[in-house]
Symmetry: C2
Subunit: 357 residues, 2 copies
């Protein structure tokens, strides 16, 4: 029936101490003897008895810390992110923090507005999955700088703490796998080059091909503007047009790989009989596709946890060194990759067979 929330003053009254003392007693880090153990006991007892919960708003007003971390995601609809968010939330909760989530839909204007809102709300730090190369300062100039951690992105100069998959290694795995299956004419549908993942994976492609003694000509790479199925379709169409004898495509992520599927179907090519496809991220559901997608996998949930860990460290120790964490990738081989066709694709013999609707 007690309708009003119980406040610190109530606790103090019950414990027979001044509110300030109660505050100290409750916020006490164990050991530092600023307040007598007896009072601590009495106050905590009173707090428990009354079911006292501090008011975070009042606390935030006073301390200018909100125990809230802003998490900015480019696209919630990308299945990559839910596990990442879960990881962030879980680790943050362990540290007593809450995530304020926002997604920008890749719209810089929207992102700017969201970041402004987050500053207003006194978020203590930011976890960004949106940062583009060339805009390392996420919050505009002149502002007091919030702690920032990048996730699934890395700053060009590694000046910001970050957690991401080892893009280069991952793509090299993919290339090596394809070569082991006999592929030689391999194309790359690259990601946006203003994203660290897009640039890193393209670098990995060139490196991996070189390691295998294969050349990469200008026509072997088509760069997507965004990580979306439609872009994958566009790029794969172009790739097939300018390199009709390609037998395998490495896509910079799974969304683009989906676009490649469509382009192959359009062209009357079967996957993997005529052309193999490899993705990146191993998103949920790609094992249910037709054909199930071979993809470079890493632990998304762990990436989220690690990002939260970094921001917590940074909040606890503002000056701590800037860490960049790379997660080890592995290749999950499924049915979208197979032996290189012997006659070569694009020859009339194999085209025009069964196609997805």
């Amino acid at each position: 029936m007690a309708s009003r929330r119980v406040t610190l003053a109530d606790v103090a009254r019950l414990a027979g101490v001044h509110p300030a003392t109660a505050s100290r007693a409750l916020n006490q880090v164990d050991g530092s003897g600023l307040v007598s153990p007896a009072t601590v006991a009495r106050v905590t007892a009173a707090a428990n008895r009354l079911g006292y919960r501090p008011n975070p708003v009042a606390r935030s007003l006073r301390t200018r810390r909100s125990h809230t971390v802003g998490v900015v995601i480019p696209d919630l609809a990308n299945p990559l992110f839910p596990p990442v968010i879960r990881g962030i939330e879980d680790r943050l909760a362990e540290g007593g923090y809450v995530a304020l989530l926002a997604n920008t839909d890749d719209d810089p204007a929207r992102e700017h507005q969201l970041l402004e809102r987050m500053r207003e709300r006194h978020v203590d730090g930011l976890v960004l999955a949106t940062v583009r190369r060339g805009t390392p300062e996420p919050a505009g100039p002149g502002e007091e700088d919030l702690p920032v951690v990048l996730v699934n992105r890395v700053a060009e100069d590694r000046a910001l703490p970050a957690v991401a998959a080892d893009d280069v290694s991952g793509i090299r795995l993919a290339v090596a796998h394809l070569v082991s299956l006999g592929h030689r004419r391999i194309g790359h549908v690259a990601g946006p080059q203003d994203l660290s993942t897009g640039a890193g994976r393209l670098r990995g492609f060139r490196l991996g091909m070189a390691e295998q003694g294969l050349e990469v000509g200008p026509a072997d790479v088509v760069v997507a503007e965004r990580y979306q199925v439609a872009e994958g379709l566009r790029c794969a169409r172009q790739l097939l047009a300018q390199r009709p004898r390609v037998t395998a495509i490495v896509a910079a992520n799974d969304m683009l790989a989906l676009g490649c599927y469509r382009a192959l179907a359009e062209a009357g090519l079967a996957c993997p009989q005529d052309c193999s496809v490899v993705g990146f991220n191993d998103m949920p559901f790609v094992d249910q596709l037709s054909p199930p997608l071979t993809s470079v996998r890493f632990d998304h949930y762990a990436m989220g946890r690690e990002a939260a860990q970094l921001i917590l460290e940074r909040l606890a120790t503002p000056g701590c060194p800037t860490k960049v964490v790379y997660l080890p990738p592995e290749l999950v081989v499924r049915a979208s990759t197979g032996p290189a066709p012997r006659g070569g694709p694009g020859t009339e013999g194999r085209a025009g067979r069964r196609r997805a609707d």
Copy 2:
């Protein structure tokens, strides 16, 4: 270079008025003349000049309203929800509100804890996609009650505002479609019966079958405990075991339909040649499955917007009547449904063919 945030006092000083006056001038609803137009002009000018942004924390402490709405989702990894969340966020932003997002992973304990955190943070209202039948009071008894809106759920007695698809109509569409393809032995993998969607869709199934003059025996329905692929697999296995001659399965949602795919593959049955499958929700990516899934579709983004609309109405007019909004469903026919097999499935002639790995 101005490092400190500009505060109301700064604005007042520049405008040459008392802070209280500045406050009134800025919070003024147009028309009601509590403050002279001249001062309003001066104050707003000063505010713009300084780039004043009110401190939401202080305001929230004072007014006990945070302009924040808690949004609780059972499972972020379900692709149904991202568009819903987008809809909620967008509409909320138009009304000057922010969404505080949380996902419970279907864990009531976790949900309880999250709701507590949200209360602490002074959320002004709640949008819940988690409510189960039998627990209409989401926040525990005796507490001051926050405005609540349900999304993708409906309270048993319709006592709470809610937005959801018209489950009954949707399933009837599915049944009618299957019957028109010649199916007569149709099974249902039902959703959890403590969720309004699970119960409503089961009701729709019985109704739809009755309309078509078909009987529903106890063995024709298997009830899933959760909306997950693994549960769909379990239920479909059971259904196939107890009704081997079934030629079509209506799944209560797309996740369960995915489980049905697996069960059919296990049993060596081809979809749709041996057995058709219909899902519900038309999640993103189900058009990319093998085979592309026939599913009952409704506008997820619109559902989110509508839910936000309802909570905004409720915040503006606390006593307003309780609305329950049903969204019209439509059937998206893809390749997972086809004509009923003539010989009937489960006969040895067709079993044991190609199977997914």
